[in-house]
């Protein structure tokens, strides 16, 4: 819980507690403890709770490869370099702000000026995912909104080989994984 909404939430929690049949106030409080014990009131109450949870629609399990979780927009996952959709040029202007912002210094950008368009264009871009902690400072620092951290999360690999992403990989983004089994 974040400190900002701590107050309101804690009062809500307090109010939430007594509701539901789990708690003792609603029924049976008038019975004496001995009679409750003999009639197994509490045990039957517990049995009722587990019985009512049985419909499979109650299950909160997510069948992961079959159904994918809802990822929030502010989630920071696989990095991506945007491409101008009109002409296919990279939106990166090699200002190096991301590399400076990165606390791990895992971004290395080299570029040179294009004599025709007079724009600076990236020549080599490397992004070392194995060292990235997904703080998102690079994306915040980017002056052209070219670099972003997407909601893709399936970044696990069998070796360290593919961990260093180059410009092509960054621009392509992540292919959705297809599970065969």
């Amino acid at each position: 819980m974040r400190p900002a909404d701590a107050g309101s939430d804690s009062t809500k929690l307090c109010r939430r507690e007594p509701e539901g049949s789990l708690y003792l106030e609603d029924t049976g409080m008038s019975l004496s403890p001995l009679i409750r014990k003999i009639l197994l009131v509490d045990l039957i109450k517990g049995l009722k709770v587990t019985f009512n949870y049985q419909p499979p629609s109650e299950a909160i399990t997510e069948q992961y490869p079959l159904e994918r979780p809802v990822i929030f927009e502010r989630y920071r996952g696989q990095p991506r370099l945007k491409v101008d959709p009109e002409n296919g040029n990279s939106m990166c202007i090699v200002c190096n702000l991301c590399a400076l912002a990165c606390p791990e210094q895992l971004i290395v950008v080299k570029g040179e000026r294009n004599p025709v368009t007079k724009r600076k264009e990236p020549v080599s871009w490397t992004y070392d995912l194995s060292r990235c902690m997904f703080c998102g400072l690079c994306a915040e620092a980017c002056s052209t909104d070219a670099l972003e951290l997407t909601q893709d999360y399936e970044m696990a690999l069998y070796s360290r080989e593919g961990m260093v992403l180059d410009q092509a990989a960054l621009e392509k983004g992540q292919e959705p994984v297809q599970y065969v089994k």
């Binding site: 045990l43 587990t50 949870y53 499979p56 109650e58 299950a59 909160i60 399990t61 069948q63 079959l66």
Partner: protein
Amino acid sequence: MLEAIRSYLNSSATPGEAGSMFWATIYILLITIGVSLAVISMNWLERKILAHMQIRLGPMRVGPHGLLQPFADALKLLIKEDIIPDNADKLVFWSAPVVVTMTAFTTFLVVPFGREHAVTDMNIGILFMLGISSLGVLGIIMAGWSSNSHYPLMGSLRSSAQMVSYEVAMGLAIVCAVLMTSLQTGTGTLSMIGIVEAQAQQHTWFIFKFFPLGFLAFAIFAIAMVAETNRAPFDLPEAESELVAGFHTEYSGFRWSLFFLAEYAAMLAVSSIAVTLWLGGWMRPFPTWLGGPAWDLAFSFVPALTFFVLAGMCLLGTVRMPKIPQMKIQTAGLGIFGLLLGFIGLVLMVPGVRERVQDIYWFVAKVAFFMYLYIWYRGTFPRYRFDQLMKVGWKILLPTGLGVLIATALWGLLPQLGSAIVGVLP
């Protein structure tokens, strides 16, 4: 040959009564296969129902809705390395699971699945069942002692203490039911078939007899039987959080699976005692209130109907399966399973089969209710502490059982007492 089979099927005698070795062997084979199948399906059902009670889904990946999971587990257990600890007592270690499994399966000799569907009708049936099922604790102690390890030993000691304390209350509850059999005929019976027939003669299940008393005796038995089979909330002998796995900590592979098999077979056996003594055994509900040939016919369709409902559920599941190529085989499998269930339902519609099968159906349905209770308890109740367990056994169940026994005897004697008093009075 065919003539012999037909004449046997038309007679209404258990193989024991008919003195037929051949049919006894067939019955024993059928019961062994049936119990093993029941254990397999119980494995799946327990995992699914328990999971749903805990708002999970349970096995979903091996076969449609995890239907093949028990088979996968069985295969895994069979090919697993079989480890015997270095300093274990090899002979005892080897024979413990055999003892447990054999005792658990032997009890089914006298279980009456129907008037003619029992291997034999012993005149001491219930005594035999109790005796054999308490022998199971011997196997548990053997397993715990021979493992030469702390946890198994503690597990088996707990198990023996628990069995001894709950056997007493259980015995008292059973004596109540046996007393009730003697009410109209004057002579009681210990035979399992005789007990059910007594309930048929008295037109009531013993759970409703002498209203609070029959129910109380049943309740005592129902609690004691959970303790007797080492199931939650009385699963102290195999308390996972305290004793790793209790008496079978050192067992692996096939031997472990024998313990598993025996535990579930024992649960089935004890449930069938409860069904026989209090819930009218193989009798269908309301045999007199909803009596007559029309109701008989209607009730004889219930087994087929059950299978049709199950088949319908499977086919509904087939329709609801995610429509993606990866699930094609699973969907087809579920459909075939549904059709198989439907086919079994159709077979149960055939008149000859229908009449022969319905008492088995009612017995199994009642036992299934108890198996569901076992799972329900496990999903709900936390484990008792050992002193609490002993307190429940000795301070609550035993006195209540004694009181119920005395009250039952007095109530049964009331008419005679009344006539005696009337005779004494001038």
